[in-house]
Symmetry: C3
Subunit: 134 residues, 3 copies
């Protein structure tokens, strides 16, 4: 953790560079700092995954409406101030990247921060140690 | 919010029109009314996204079993009666659309309504204002 | 319920058999037993769905890093011991299957067990009766 998942309608793939947006959002996560000035998210645990829908319906179907939903799930225990700062930073990054899209089409954009409520949490990869070494 | 996400096994793409099902489910959401007769969901915030899995396993692998999971995440604060009415209306729409599939194959179908427990919620698109104007 | 969803970066599709991993994870779920020796999960309700991301960013982008997130959502009311046993069994299965990948590349792997907090739950397929008959 954390991960950010983007679910979106596929028109956006023709109108913006979603891979670049993923990178910018990951960089925004890596830049986040808590009240003590420490990184909010571990480098080896930060990832953004984006999924265009195969089928979709938006609003009342009255036009070519697009939509993207950004959901970041982070570990429990951070303060409300950190949640807000992370959410606002990610919104700012996405808004800037998508400004040309917003200027030319109808698109719904929602970003939500969730705290994970998992009852089991297992890490078994080799990315964290890789970055801890660095 | 709200959004409805459908995760399903890809045989269904050959056996039914999933885009049409998304539209019918969105229309069902838009038709939902609360105890006061007001729309449960805002037009500009209603969307359905469907994702066939690239890889899957269902039950014990003893046959060609399909599966679809419907998850609607809605804002907190609605009554249990509204949750139930929304859930039952969506199940009825999906059951009717999928009746020919149900008549000819094994398919698991589950629909769940979740209340979002987000700790940050940002809207930054232009769809809500578009429909508020209408 | 339950379902296990795998969100992952698409390099893994070239390096391992994700369909086989889905099957092994489903078999692991079907083998799980509770304190009384009864199956934790119903055969007709067990499924695994895997989704490679169309776009992604992992860590700081400093190399070809892969990632897979395994999320199992199960019904409420099981004990902490069952959550732990299920989580550990799934991690063991995934770790064994992915050992050749772990030996040759950087990959983050996280598995989390969630209890569903749904406010409506509808089943309307024909898989459960099929397996109840068996």
């Amino acid at each position: 953790m954390p991960h950010l998942v983007i679910l979106y309608t596929p028109q956006l793939d023709r109108e913006t560079d979603m891979t670049a947006l993923c990178r910018k959002l990951a960089d925004t996560m890596l830049a986040a700092r808590d009240e003590a000035g420490a990184p909010v998210f571990p480098k080896g645990g930060t990832r953004v995954l984006a999924y265009p829908a195969a089928h979709f319906a938006v609003a009342d179907g009255s036009g070519d409406h697009a939509f993207a939903y950004f959901n970041i799930r982070m570990a429990r225990g951070r303060s409300g101030a950190v949640h807000k700062a992370v959410g606002e930073a990610l919104v700012a990054t996405a808004r800037e990247h998508l400004a040309p899209v917003l200027a030319q089409r109808a698109v719904g954009l929602t970003l939500q921060v969730d705290e994970g409520a998992e009852v089991f949490d297992g890490k078994f990869g080799n990315l964290h140690p890789l970055f801890a070494k660095a």
